[in-house]
Amino acid sequence: MTETTHRPAGQQLLGLTVNGERREVLAESRRTLVDVLRHDLGLTGTHVGCEHGICGACTVLVDGAPARACLMFAAQAEGCEIRTVEALGEGPDGRELGDLQQAFTEHHALQCGFCTPGFLMLAEGLLSERPDATKEEIREVVAANLCRCTGYQTIVEAVDACAARRRAATPTPSEEDSCS
């Protein structure tokens, strides 16, 4: 058998890069990425809501793109850059709110907060790829995850406000030209 084969019940040593840190974990091959993040690496900010890819509470960034951590085996994530909600904060200990998190609290975009990490990672992935996303495009992407508390309106508003703030802070290409 090749070295790339891992038998059931046998534990395999996985090397994962999570929030820029190299982590190693001994896990069964059937263990999902979200279970490894939460229970083997202690990163409990990522939540489990349905384990079939619909609610999005487990959404993390895999190589910068939002993905369901319940629909990936941890073994598939070897070699990828994983980013979780724990890395979104600012300041030396990550406890200061970043601009997206700030927008969520300002707009009351969370109530129980259980779905929130998934929405934050979803929005972070969206805005890094499409900083110019319109409010309707944001709504369409926000529809990827389920929230039972807010009715979504304030989540859409928070992401939209964050996007607008980022755009305002970044000079447009024409402005850059005129400055140079």
Binding site: H108, G113, T150
Partner: protein
């Protein structure tokens, strides 16, 4: 002192940022499944695959051989007491059900727990459950209320004849039959509402461990009612209640589903005691949909009598609630029918009323209270009746409501409930005016001319909140909720810890309760922390349900803070040698009213603990106070009107919500942004019930949904933006003037949406009274017409 804080603070009434948010936004919250204890094992349940039958044999020997499995227990192994919820009513009115923690000889719904498997990880635990050998003797399943009530139906519980757990006739006004006989107009409506799951995004879960030092079972669990879980756990396990400590970490929603005691949390506790190791159980989504608690499946046949001017003369209701296999603890299977019968007249004047309310038992997952409890259903029925009467009498549907709304308060209804002041009429007027001014009536006409289908619908309702023990006692529950306790404790640095018997699961109590206490004592918000969810910290509490927390719990917090405030005033007054009424609390410090002196809270706290020789004669050391509050009379009624505009699409049958306006009045809004959040979230759940979510059961008792593919929780593209407008009729007897705000959104939405759908369907002659309304139904109705 309603509405006016004892301190000079101005936090109540402002939308301050939530105290909860920083940890929840940085992934540093702690939910039940985040609790990790050394040596912890994981539980998974063997569940019945049939809806009804006897258990011929249950063999767990192969389970125990599965790699990773540590133990497996069935009912006989654990020998636990049953969970039995009772009403203090005669046998002819109510039959209790004994819900075993693990099923013994009989199973009553598909998903019922039979055994608990404990393993070194959740994967192995699930492997273990697959190795259980269960032999059932399958019996015919009872899956519909009409089937349950039919003569000769199989019995779900041998003691419950005709599968009826509750049968009461309330408020049979004398002469009601002749009212109907003589009425100018009688309309009737038959309505069925679908079975739903309240669906907190965090499923249920528990972590149990025995602590030898404290000689206590420590049970972390996601519950809205920590003390009730403690009571039941102690009873089932045969422990003193002192020997059980229930801890509730952050909660990912509850919506009522978690205000009843679950069997699994008790089984997990028993397993932990047996094994002497911590055991965790995290419900998976399939279990949450099929084996937790459901709600809302009701069947109404209601008549209403009107005079020629559209005044309602009588209401005659037959209410059947399908409560599934067992009564939930502590509310019982009476929760839905009793609520419906007691409160159905709602915001309307009504001279004659009769209601028969029944709870039937079927082979389905049991029902628990769910946000709104029956009110989304009976408001839908009453609002449909008004729409029908308007059509019969040729009246405008808003005008007929206006002629019937209660406008003079307090109003004591035919249902023996006294309604405190509200803005029933004003909210309807403002809601209608908003839609009119925005041009939706004109848009509806234009659409009709173009062959499109626009409809406008309203719902007017009130919501009883802040139930006290007197109001709950009328339900005749064996345990009577109502009051709540609060403690405030200022430490030597002048910072305040507030403890409350309520249990936030998304409602922002850490913010709103802190706003109340901070205002009372003149403290800045960041000096106040709320502590909830630890049965060691408060002698008893009733948790959070029935929109009680701000009205009742918040009042207790304010009373406790006021008590502490009196002590601070006396202490400062003694230091300055002035009378206490010349001392003002806050902002930020304790001051002489004439502005000539001030002391910080820290300095006063230092004296109270660390320099008690400076205390005035007779004053006890320390800065703590406790208080209780009980809801007054029949509680306090929030009210609202919802206005909805929909467009129905031919071909697909899609119901598109074009506009949603909610005019609400919950008295003083402690934090308006939080109130709006409650409205919007509630409305989303109400829309879900009107258009999207339902769990049906086939004839064998197999549920239709085991996941979100089939249970269609709506997304951001289905739920519209909602404009919330506030009116404020302060409550006269809560300490802050606040009324409850937790459930109203959910109550109004189904009726408003269904009325709008029917308005749009008007040219077709089709009238829909059942929810959820599916695209298929709409497409069919429009197709028939075209």
């Amino acid at each position: 002192m309603s509405g006016r804080p004892g301190g000079t603070g101005r936090l109540v009434g402002t939308s301050v940022r939530r105290q909860e948010d920083p940890r929840l936004l940085t992934g540093r919250g702690r939910f039940t499944d985040d609790v990790h204890l050394p040596g912890m094992l994981y539980a998974h349940f063997v569940r019945s695959t049939v809806a009804s039958g006897s258990v011929v044999s249950l063999d767990l020997s192969a389970v125990r051989e599965v790699p990773g499995v540590v133990a497996a227990f069935d009912a006989a192994d654990l020998g636990l007491g049953d969970i039995t919820a009772r009403l203090d009513r005669p046998a002819g009115e109510f039959v209790p059900t004994a819900m075993p923690v693990l099923a013994r000889d009989r199973v009553r719904f598909a998903g019922e727990p039979l055994a608990v498997v404990v393993a070194r990880d959740p994967y192995a635990a699930e492997d273990g459950t697959e190795a259980a050998k269960v032999v059932h003797d399958t019996r015919p399943a009872v899956t519909r209320d009409t089937q349950a009530l039919a003569p000769g139906a199989p019995l779900v519980h041998d003691a419950a004849a005709a599968n009826t757990l509750l049968d009461v006739t309330m408020f049979a006004t004398e002469g009601i039959d002749s009212v109907f006989d003589r009425a100018h107009c009688v309309v009737d409506v038959e309505t069925r509402t679908g079975r739903q799951n309240a669906l907190p995004l965090e499923t249920r879960g528990a972590v149990a461990a025995w602590d030898d030092r404290d000689r206590q079972l420590v049970l972390h669990t996601s519950t809205q009612v920590p003390h009730q879980v403690r009571t039941v756990a102690a009873r089932c396990l045969g422990l003193d209640e002192r020997a059980v400590r229930v801890l509730v970490p952050d909660m990912g929603g509850g919506f009522g589903l978690k205000c009843v005691v679950g069997r699994e949390e008790i089984a997990v506790a028993a397993a932990a005691l047996r094994l002497g190791r911590p055991v965790k159980w995290t419900e998976d989504r399939k279990e949450a949909l099929t084996a937790s608690f459901l709600a809302r499946e009701q069947h109404y046949r209601v008549r209403a009598a009107f005079d020629a001017e559209g005044r309602m003369l009588g209401l005659d209701a037959d209410i059947v609630c399908d409560m599934g296999a067992y009564s939930c603890y502590p509310f019982t299977a009476g929760i839905e029918p009793l609520m419906a019968a007691a409160e159905m007249p709602g915001v309307y004047r009504l001279p004659a009323y009769r209601a028969r309310a029944r709870a039937v038992t079927t082979n389905k997952a049991p029902s628990a209270p769910y946000r709104g409890v029956s009110r989304p259903q009976f408001v839908l029925v009453v609002e449909r009746l008004f729409e029908r009467a308007a059509r019969e009498l040729g009246l405008d549907p808003v005008e007929i409501r206006r002629r019937n709304l209660i406008t003079e308060f307090p109003y004591t209804g035919v249902n023996n409930i006294t309604y405190d002041p509200g803005s029933y009429r004003e909210s309807l007027d403002l809601c209608e005016r908003t839609l009119r001014e925005e041009g939706w009536y004109a848009a509806r006409d234009t659409a009709a001319a173009e062959g499109r289908h626009l409809g406008i619908g309203y719902a007017c309702f009130s919501e009883r909140t802040g139930y006290g023990s007197a109001a709950f006692a009328q339900r005749k529950m064996e345990v009577v909720p109502g009051f709540d306790l609060a403690e405030v404790r200022m430490d030597t640095s002048g910072a305040l810890t507030v403890t409350s018997g309520t249990m936030s699961h998304g409602q922002s109590h850490e913010t709103t309760m802190a706003q109340i206490a901070a205002d009372e004592l003149g403290l800045p918000l960041e000096k106040v922390r709320l502590h909830q969810g630890d049965t060691e910290r408060v002698a008893y509490g009733w948790g959070t349900f029935a929109s009680r927390s701000i009205a009742v719990g918040g009042s207790a917090v304010r009373r406790a803070a006021a008590e502490l405030g009196r002590k601070l005033r006396h202490l400062a007054a003694a230091r300055w040698g002035v009378p206490p009424d010349e001392v003002v609390l806050g902002p930020g410090a304790v001051r002489r009213a004439d502005g000539t002196a001030e002391l910080s809270h820290t300095e006063l706290a230092r004296i109270a603990y660390l320099a008690t020789h400076l205390l005035p004669e007779g004053m006890e050391p320390g800065l703590t106070a406790t208080a209780s509050f009980d809801g007054v009379g029949d509680g306090t009624f929030s009210n609202a009107t919802h206005g909805v505009v929909v467009e129905l699409h031919e071909g697909t049958g899609q119901v598109e919500i074009l506009r949603y306006v909610c005019v609400e009045d919950c008295g003083v809004a402690v934090n308006p942004q939080v109130v709006e959040g409650q409205c919007r979230g509630g409305i989303a759940q109400g829309i879900a019930g009107a258009l999207f979510e339902e769990i049906t059961y086939d004839a064998q008792g197999e549920p239709s949904a085991t996941g979100f593919m089939d249970y269609k929780v709506p997304t951001a593209l289905e739920i519209p933006d909602v404009t919330v407008r506030h009116l404020e009729t302060p409550c006269a007897f809560t300490e802050t003037g606040a009324k409850g705000a937790g459930e109203g959104g959910t109550i109004g939405a189904p009726a408003a949406v269904l009325n709008a759908v029917n308005d749009a369907l008007r040219p077709t002659g089709v009238e829909l009274n059942d929810i959820p309304v599916t695209p298929q139904t709409i497409a069919h109705a429009l197709e028939q017409h075209s």
